[in-house]
Subunit: 199 residues, 2 copies
DNA sequence: CGCCCAATCTTGACGCTGTCAAGTTTCGTG
DNA sequence: CACGAAACTTGACAGCGTCAAGATTGGGCG
């Protein structure tokens, strides 16, 4: 065992982080279908099987990239919340705005994070990152009264609503038959929800 | 041109439908990752490139299977609606119940239909099937007053909510930290929504 | 100071995939 | 009956993930 655990690896300077970064770039530039072990390796300039060594295989690499995505995701929601009116309801709306912004800005990453569970191999770090993102939403919903008996019902409702809207918009599933329906906004839907300040 | 368009093809009896059926079976048995042109061909007993000839390639086959999925999806929702109380609100709840049931009964197919847009190549038949499924939900929501100025706001809200809930449950994204939270039900969330009969 | 071992990364191979070009079989029609 | 088109097969190719084996590097210990 070395006493300087991941300080200065042998050949490449922190290849692991570089591979995750290259994966995020490939995702943004070319989409999920091009996110491959060999493409990540080539972009960083290492051999085709170096990524598998660090991440155990493709699912491991995708999981690491998705975990980094949840960090960015949580940061996006926090930034939106920070910039908003501090009233509880406005804070929730701001979180949802951040949610939608992230999905729109990083569609392929969003898909990897939420829509490809079979391709991921969740580990402790991934679960921690995903939970941290959920906590941002949950703590923002906390000041609002639950809409049912379940104390978690408000966060579940808000999360389901915003996640479903983001997913369906991204999938292009909303029919553009109506004239002015090109970009429905969650703010047209969220305000009428039965969200109340806790007594 | 033959005058009997798709009646009795040359070698195999309607290979196209057989390939779609085999795809549905593979999806149910082995998941999306095993749904491949060659696996579908082998299950039906034709050569490895017969599917590509009929569907133009993998995206074409996946689109045809997803389109069939939307037909089953619409049927599931209609059956649930038919069996429910005819009051408008109960009808909407029944639709959502059918929605959740479909997602739970056919998780891989549900993922293919909604969560892998990059792997599909929508054509007229696919769009028609997806729109028909949407129409089931839209017409059920019609008797309810819109929650905002937009007449489509109710269906968008209901659809986003139930789709988000189904997706997140399927992805296992809800933290099971709470004790009794193993199977949250949309009925705990939908009733408090501001759905009202139209005046 | 020098060795040694473990971690890092490379090389080469394997089977599987989708795609394509070319050939073969089959059937409807003129 | 023969021709042509449609349906399907055959064979090949590059790219993919994975694995085994080898080369390279660098830090800790004698």
């Amino acid at each position: 065992m070395t006493k300087t655990p991941p300080r200065k690896p042998h050949h490449h300077g922190n290849l692991r982080a570089a591979l995750i970064q290259s994966g995020l770039e490939i995702l943004a530039e070319s989409g999920l279908s091009r996110l491959t072990l060999r493409a990540c390796a080539a972009r960083v300039g290492v051999s085709h099987s170096a990524p598998a060594h660090h991440f155990g295989g493709l699912p491991g690499l995708l999981t690491a990239i998705a975990g980094r995505g949840f960090e960015i995701f949580a940061d996006t929601m926090k930034a939106a919340r920070r910039a908003a009116d501090p009233a509880p309801r406005a804070q929730v709306i701001a979180i949802c705005r951040g949610y939608m912004d992230f999905a729109e800005a990083h569609p392929a990453l969003f898909t990897l994070m939420f829509n490809t569970p079979a391709r991921l191999a969740p580990n402790d770090a991934f679960i921690a990152a995903a939970d941290a993102a959920y906590d941002v939403l949950a703590e923002t919903c906390a000041p609002l009264a639950p809409v049912t008996d379940d104390p978690r019902s408000t966060e579940m409702m808000v999360w389901s609503l915003v996640h479903g809207l983001a997913s369906l918009l991204q999938g292009g599933r909303f029919k553009p038959e109506s004239d002015r329906m090109d970009m429905p906004d969650f703010e047209a839907i969220l305000p009428p929800l039965p969200l109340r300040d806790a007594p």
